[in-house]
């Protein structure tokens, strides 16, 4: 057996996952077919807010193929089942029960009111139309500010208010900085802006689905979920199913982006119904259902104030947020805006900070985690207002950033929000980005086109960012009232033939974990990449875990794997010493081999695996096993950062925006697989650019979602996006042994403000200082027109 010499980490390995995905030999949840399997379809409320006066399923029950129709009264006769929320952000947070099916009231268009069980999916869907529901319509509650006004209609009457919680951080109170009111009142410049984070749909390509098999000793739940382990715990807590009687499997999962973090009422329905009928059941939603009923993201109103001295030195930052939770608390929904609280100060040294967030209930689809969760929102607001401040001061936006950012030699640096950034080099990333972009030349061209009154103007958008990545430190999460920890689990088994099985509690849904983890294991043990198999997404093989979100799979899950590998090497060492007849201290482990120092005498870890299997000749008292378990809980987050530059051309006569070039330099610390990293950045950029230019979930005044299909919700196609120039600097994280920082959200976080800053920059000479997202041609054209009109007015 040969040991690898060339390190795997850092290599652009093509993915192990691809073979099954490019040949169609996949295991999507919807592909699962079990003997006797029945199909579920959910009847959803067409109204945003209403009392249910009656439900009559009798006609539906008579239809061909229909086995049963259930309402809340059938599935939850006591009215005691409530969908879980794992993040009660304050002790007094309002927590209305979210039923599995609405019983008396519906609180958003799309909420389930009944479920049909039939022999085929088509028959189940046919029967939905035959269920008669009478509603007594109530006034919808859609606007966050109106929802908080005195006398507003209430989403949950029993609460007496539409307020969910108010969460406050104040640097003076926390001892992390000064008093913000004092800063604002004593500064030379105070700039206040309101930004709106429109509501977005995560829009994973595979709709949600689940299958429950109640036959056999355990209930088995397959689900297109990001969080099989959390789902198992939550299902056990919600339905009282003994945890050891429930196995959850996330097979191939077609994208998540935070949108598959929720625990679904449909999963609970399927568990209950499979239990009642004793037969396997499947629920597979249509895209229109996804748009209505899968959670949405963002949806905040951000009032942000910065203060500065005339030379541009920042003196204070105040943020007041309204966050739309939709009709109920999602699994982590109330905590999403709180995550942003730590990122508004971004890469800047700001001496005083105040943050207050009010979470609001409305009669809309729930909001919850969506790629970046809180951090893209925060980065957008600070990067937009820094650009506005630069304009106010007559400074170049990069120069203003440089004046205020934390310098490379100042790390580790404790911010005004109380986080300690371990490492960073904003200077290096910015210098590289400027060079790749051709910043100075583009600025010259911009000036020329302005002077020439070119109908197509050029704008340059700057965005710098950092984020708290690798959502983990359990103690920190505890201090924020999150209901769970953030550790991750791994186990590693050397098999008799020298192959390696590694299990991770992280759960992949397209990121390439099998490849990246294999590279890590190959280096740690010195075994060939091909000899490593990664198991994940099954609570039986990976018996515990915290799953995948917030770029934690590498910087938390990857480190757990490293720890597990170290334990295996430690277990192998005395065996190697025994076999080589030397002292343990005389052994060196390198490239998969234990070598007696200064000699040719050696054995490989793969040979030791066979010796352990045979167990004929082991040292006394040594357990015949090369298996290990490890759980890693980091002390701190990691803090990737980057500089993104966007050149946008804006046709001032039509409002059309086209991206001429996009350059980003991300610093994500040590890179495991550059191919995977580049792909993650591309995808993130596309998502962030889409927020800036294309996407928005819109409700009409009745609360109906008018962007309920891909025909109305503008997910960009290949024809809508440019090619990106991506590059990296590498400043290793000092808080984990791999030096990695995480990359999943980088592109999404930084690109939205870069694009909006570019467009505003292109049309600033018309008096435009903001345009609401998404920057549709109509919005841009109107901004130019109204700006131009007021300019004309000023000249007269």
């Amino acid at each position: 057996m040969t040991a690898t010499v060339e390190p795997e980490v850092g290599k652009a390995r093509r993915r192990k996952e691809d073979e099954r995905l490019i040949t169609g030999r996949t295991r999507w949840t919807d592909n699962i077919a079990l003997p006797g399997m029945l199909h579920l379809a959910v009847l959803r409320s067409p109204l945003a807010h209403a009392r249910i006066t009656s439900i009559d399923p009798s006609a539906a029950k008579e239809l061909p193929g229909v086995i049963a129709v259930y309402t809340a009264a059938d599935l939850d006769p006591e009215g005691s089942i409530g969908m879980p929320c794992a993040w009660p952000v304050t002790p007094d947070m309002a927590a209305p029960r979210r039923p599995v099916l609405a019983a008396e009231r519906v609180n958003f268009a799309g909420e389930g009111v009944a479920v049909v069980v039939a022999r085929s999916a088509a028959e189940a869907h046919d029967a939905l139309e035959a269920i008669e529901v009478d509603y007594d319509e109530l006034p919808p509650v859609l606007d966050m500010e109106a929802a908080l006004a005195e006398g507003a209609p209430l989403v949950h009457e029993e609460l007496g208010s539409n307020k969910n919680a108010v969460w406050v951080f104040d640097s003076a109170g926390a001892g992390t900085g000064g008093d913000v009111e004092q800063a604002l009142s004593s500064s030379e410049i105070v700039l206040k802006r309101r930004f709106r984070q429109q509501r977005l749909v995560p829009a994973f390509m595979e709709p949600r689905a689940c299958v429950v098999d109640p036959t056999g000793p355990q209930l088995t739940l397959w689900s297109a979920t990001q969080v099989p382990h959390i789902l198992r715990v939550m299902a056990a807590l919600t339905l009282g199913i003994p945890e050891h009687k429930l196995r959850v499997i996330a097979p191939d999962v077609g994208g998540g982006f935070g949108g598959k973090i929720a625990v679904l009422p449909e999963e609970m329905m399927a568990l209950l119904i499979a239990g009642k009928l004793g037969k396997p059941v499947k629920w597979n939603e249509s895209r229109s259902e996804t748009m209505l009923a899968a959670h949405h993201g963002r949806d905040q109103i951000q009032d942000i104030t910065v203060s500065a001295n005339a030379d541009g030195t920042l003196t204070g930052l105040k943020v007041e947020l309204l966050a739309n939770l939709g009709a109920y608390n999602g699994l982590v929904g109330p905590g999403v805006p709180i995550l942003g609280a730590f990122m508004f100060n971004a890469i800047y040294k700001i001496p005083a900070y105040h943050f207050a967030c009010t979470n609001v209930f409305t009669t809309t689809t729930l909001t919850d985690a969506y790629r970046g969760a809180g951090r893209p929102e925060a980065t957008f607001a600070i990067e937009r207002i820094i650009d506005e401040l630069a304009d106010e001061l007559g400074m170049d936006p990069l120069e203003l950033r440089e004046k205020n950012w934390i310098r490379h030699e100042e790390f580790p640096y404790t911010t005004v929000a109380g986080l300690t950034y371990d490492s960073g080099n904003y200077e290096a990333a910015t210098a590289k980005a400027k060079e790749l972009f051709g910043y100075d030349a583009l600025r010259r061209e911009q000036a020329e086109r302005r002077a020439a009154n070119d109908p197509v103007q050029l704008g340059i958008g700057v965005s710098t960012f950092t984020e708290m990545c690798g959502l983990a430190p359990s103690r920190v999460l505890g201090s924020l009232d999150y209901g769970a920890g953030g550790w991750e689990y791994a186990s590693l088994r050397m098999l008799p033939t020298g192959k390696v099985e590694v299990t991770t509690g992280a759960s992949a849904h397209g990121q390439g974990h099998e490849t990246a983890w294999s590279q890590i294991v190959a280096d740690q043990l010195g075994v060939p990449f091909e000899d490593v198999e990664v198991l994940h997404g099954d609570t039986q093989s990976a018996h515990k875990g915290m799953d995948t979100y917030g770029s934690r799979s590498l910087v938390v899950g990857g480190i757990a794997i490293v720890k597990a590998a170290e334990k295996v090497v430690a277990k192998a060492r005395p065996i190697a010493a025994h076999l080589l007849e030397c002292a343990e201290d005389d052994l060196e482990f390198t490239g998969g081999r234990f070598v007696v120092k200064g000699t040719e005498s050696a054995t490989t870890i793969q040979d030791i695996a066979l010796a352990v299997f045979a167990a004929h000749n082991l040292p006394d008292g040594v357990e015949p096993s090369l298996d290990s378990d490890a759980t890693f809980d980091p002390e701190n987050f990691s803090f990737p950062h980057g500089t993104h530059l966007c050149a946008a051309e804006v046709d001032t006569e039509t409002g059309r925006v086209s991206l001429r070039s996009y350059v980003c330099v991300d610093d994500i610390g040590k890179v495991i697989n550059p191919l995977i990293v580049e792909g993650q950045v591309h995808g993130g950029l596309a998502q962030g650019i889409a927020q800036a230019l294309y996407e928005e979930a819109v409700h009409d005044e009745s609360g109906t979602l008018t962007t309920g299909t891909f025909a109305d919700y503008l997910l960009p196609s290949a024809a809508d996006l440019p090619s990106f120039t991506t590059a990296r600097t590498e400043t290793p994280s000092t808080t984990n042994p791999l030096g990695a920082k995480g990359v999943g959200e980088a592109g999404t976080i930084a690109s939205t403000p870069a694009v909006v800053n570019a467009v505003v920059d292109a049309v600033r000479q018309f008096g435009v200082d903001d345009i609401e997202m998404p920057l549709s041609p109509m919005r841009v054209w109107r901004a130019v027109q109204s700006g131009a009109a007021s300019n004309d007015g000023g000249a007269q």
């Binding site: 691809d18 895209r287 792909g679």
Partner: protein
């Protein structure tokens, strides 16, 4: 209604409801679950297959319309254990992440190259306009199609389309 369809080289004869969509026929009757459903408005293109050699969104074709036709799905592309060059190019260029849109993307890319064997970036982007991907930002997909164009003679039949590469896995 009784229909006879050749799917990936095998002949199937079945009684189907007139309303059954081709994609459901492929998944539920022919067992071709490699072809997936991503939306219900024919926008996403995840269900793209070839019908008598041309790409169609199989959610916008009735199974009965495929009577007497030849259908090729992503499962019918690899021959004799060798990947189609477009499949190989998707792997080589990291043109997929979650992989849900991938079968449709690959089928559409093959049709695009049959129409235009030497497309530039813009032509590739426009040719893939009907297929949505949420993971990749499309850049590597575009690169893969261009790479495939350099490695194959599209439309020249299976032999000419099966050149240069062997199998998946490894560098």
């Amino acid at each position: 209604m009784r229909i006879t369809v050749t799917v990936d080289g095998s002949k199937y004869t079945d009684d189907v409801e007139p309303r059954m969509l081709l994609v459901h026929y492929l998944r539920e009757r022919a067992g071709k679950v490699g072809t997936v459903v991503g939306c219900d408005t024919s926008n996403c293109g995840a269900c793209t297959v070839h019908l008598d050699g041309h790409s169609v969104k199989s959610c916008s074709v009735l199974a009965v319309q495929a009577d007497g036709c030849e259908v090729t799905t992503v499962e019918g592309l690899a021959r004799d254990g060798r990947l189609h060059p477009v499949q190989q190019a998707f792997h080589d260029n990291h043109a997929l992440q979650c992989g849900f849109c991938t079968p449709g993307m690959i089928m559409q890319s093959i049709d695009l190259l049959a129409d235009n064997p030497d497309p530039d970036e813009q032509a590739i982007r426009e040719g893939l306009e009907g297929n949505l991907c949420r993971c990749t930002g499309y850049q590597n997909i575009v690169r893969a199609v261009r790479d495939a164009a350099d490695h194959m003679s599209p439309g020249a039949g299976p032999e000419a389309e099966q050149i240069k590469h062997v199998g998946v896995g490894g560098e």
